[in-house]
């Protein structure tokens, strides 16, 4: 028996369903009862119940792309803050190969990098790398912090949300899965992106967001861009987005 509605806000310990239901992300099962472990929104898919958190810390996973800040230079590696309970390391070999060079010639404390999580071992040592398209040190621009769980919402289905922002503001935007966003463009456009990203973070759990963000962008840019998509497609986007989160 389902005791909650889809998209309802629930709290830790709240019983979501009894009997023949599966426990998905953000839930646990105790004595045939599926309970929420988080503050979040219920997502029901057939017999599987998940809770999409409204707030969380970034836990590194192999393959993720993250934005990190160099906090220390050591003998053969850099230490990085990746906005997580676990800090990352970037081994010198990832940058120089076998060549021996002075580390601070390449990156210094305070530099901000776009990196890939290469490995997370059993003692939670997070190894980072720079091999891949677009990875490396950022120059200029601004940083915005958002709750990592809101990242999929900011990106949107197949990048719809983020692409809309990029197109409208002509800014470069890079989103790390750890909730850090880098933006570079005209300074006034960077501020527009900052406002929009913060709104997406605050309203990520509400519906009709894509349309509201489109309106907000238009208003902020003070130019009447025509709506290119119909209501229906954006509704579909939201459904797809939910699907993505549950998986």
């Amino acid at each position: 028996m389902l005791l909650v509605e889809d998209k309802q806000i629930v709290v830790p310990g709240e019983i979501l369903a009894e009997g023949d239901y599966h426990s998905g992300r953000g839930t646990f099962k105790e004595e045939e009862k599926v309970c929420s472990s988080l503050v979040g929104l219920v997502a029901v898919r057939d017999k599987k119940i998940s809770v999409i958190p409204l707030q969380s810390k970034y836990i590194p996973k192999r393959g993720d792309v993250v934005i990190g800040e160099i906090t220390d230079i050591r003998f053969s590696m850099w230490n990085l803050d990746i906005n997580s309970p676990y800090s990352g390391i970037l081994p010198a070999a990832e940058v120089f190969g076998k060549e021996k060079r002075e580390l601070n010639r390449a990156f210094d404390v305070g530099d901000v990098l776009f990196l890939r999580v290469v490995d997370v071992d059993e003692v939670k040592k997070v190894k980072l790398g720079l091999k891949g398209r677009g990875l490396g040190k950022f120059r200029g621009g601004i940083l915005i912090h958002i709750t990592p769980t809101k990242v999929p919402r900011l990106i949107g289905k197949k990048g719809s949300m983020i692409n809309m922002i990029k197109d409208q503001t002509r800014c470069e935007v890079v989103v790390g899965q750890n909730g850090i966003v880098w933006v570079k463009g005209k300074p006034e456009m960077e501020r527009v992106v900052q406002k929009v990203v913060k709104t997406i973070e605050e309203e990520a759990h509400t519906s009709g967001l894509t349309d509201r963000i489109r309106d907000m962008l238009m208003e902020l840019l003070e130019e009447g861009t025509e709506k290119t998509e119909t209501e229906e497609t954006s509704k579909k986007e939201e459904e797809d987005f939910k699907e993505e989160l549950i998986q």
Binding site: E69, T71, G110, G140, G141, W182, P187
Partner: protein
């Protein structure tokens, strides 16, 4: 306290914007964030206030106690200012005895309140040389979002202005306290403090957290209602020029006028 490292990108973007006369949060260089002030928030304290500047939040409580005056000032009451940068207020604030930042905050606030002659301390004498009122002002910093000094002075001033002590009489050299009859403590002046950060060679009023983190130098100036100066504190490792100091005084005189409207009406 652990010093936080500021990403170079943030330092650059904040600085570049200020050089153009703009700020990250859209304020003018000489503009305060939203300010709110409530008094009487703590019933157990004889005077109290909760002040917010932006998201910086301080709860101040004033508690009078009867004690002995200092030997060199037998006819003067005692004012003690204390602050706690609580570990709840910022991720890099740590539990433990007050660190140098916390002590600096308490001392600068104390100087502004004391030299600003807020309280007529001589009127806090009960028996000359023997008994005086000691007023303990405790600042509880619960949320740190930059610029503690201005919030601290505003909060302490408001707390003192609402502080009441029981009336006292002397019978046979003994102090008789009448808790039924509470009287406000004598307030003379109302100094306020304005803090400016030097970033990219410009002076910005009421530095936000980001600005506080990257500032080259900082100056806090206490101003009385008549525009005279009662306290100053420079912070940070970069010097000020002569012109900058004079300009800062001028700005502080203007901006404290605005702050004045938040002072509770006596």
């Amino acid at each position: 306290m652990v010093q936080s490292i500021v990403p170079e990108i943030i330092r650059e973007s904040v600085t570049n914007l200020i050089k153009k006369g703009e700020r990250v949060d859209g304020r003018a260089l000489d503009e305060y964030r939203e300010i709110s002030l409530e008094t009487g928030v703590i019933k157990k304290a004889e005077g109290s206030a909760r002040v917010k500047i932006g998201n910086t939040q301080i709860v101040v409580g004033a508690k009078p106690q009867i004690g002995e005056p200092f030997p060199d000032t037998p006819n003067v009451g005692v004012l003690i200012t204390n602050s706690e940068l609580l570990p709840m207020a910022a991720p890099n604030f740590e539990p433990g005895p007050p660190d140098e930042r916390s002590v600096e905050l308490a001392r600068v606030t104390d100087r502004c309140i004391r030299e600003g002659k807020v309280v007529d301390l001589e009127k806090l004498t009960i028996i000359p040389g023997k008994k005086v009122w000691m007023i303990f002002m405790d600042m509880h910093i619960v949320d740190y979002d930059g610029n503690l000094f201005d919030a601290a002075v505003l909060g302490c001033l408001a707390a003192l202005m609402t502080t009441k002590v029981p009336s006292t009489t002397i019978e046979d050299d003994e102090v008789v306290i009448d808790y039924e009859k509470m009287v406000p403590i004598p307030i003379n002046e109302q100094p306020l403090m304005c803090t400016m950060a030097k970033i990219g060679g410009e002076l910005v009023v009421d530095p936000s957290l980001e600005e506080d983190d990257i500032l080259e130098a900082r100056v806090s100036i206490g101003i009385r209602a008549d525009g005279s100066i009662c306290a100053m504190q420079k912070g940070g490792s970069v010097p000020f020029t002569h012109e900058e100091v004079l300009k800062a005084v001028g700005i502080a005189q203007e901006k404290t006028k605005e702050l004045r409207k938040f002072i509770p009406q006596a």
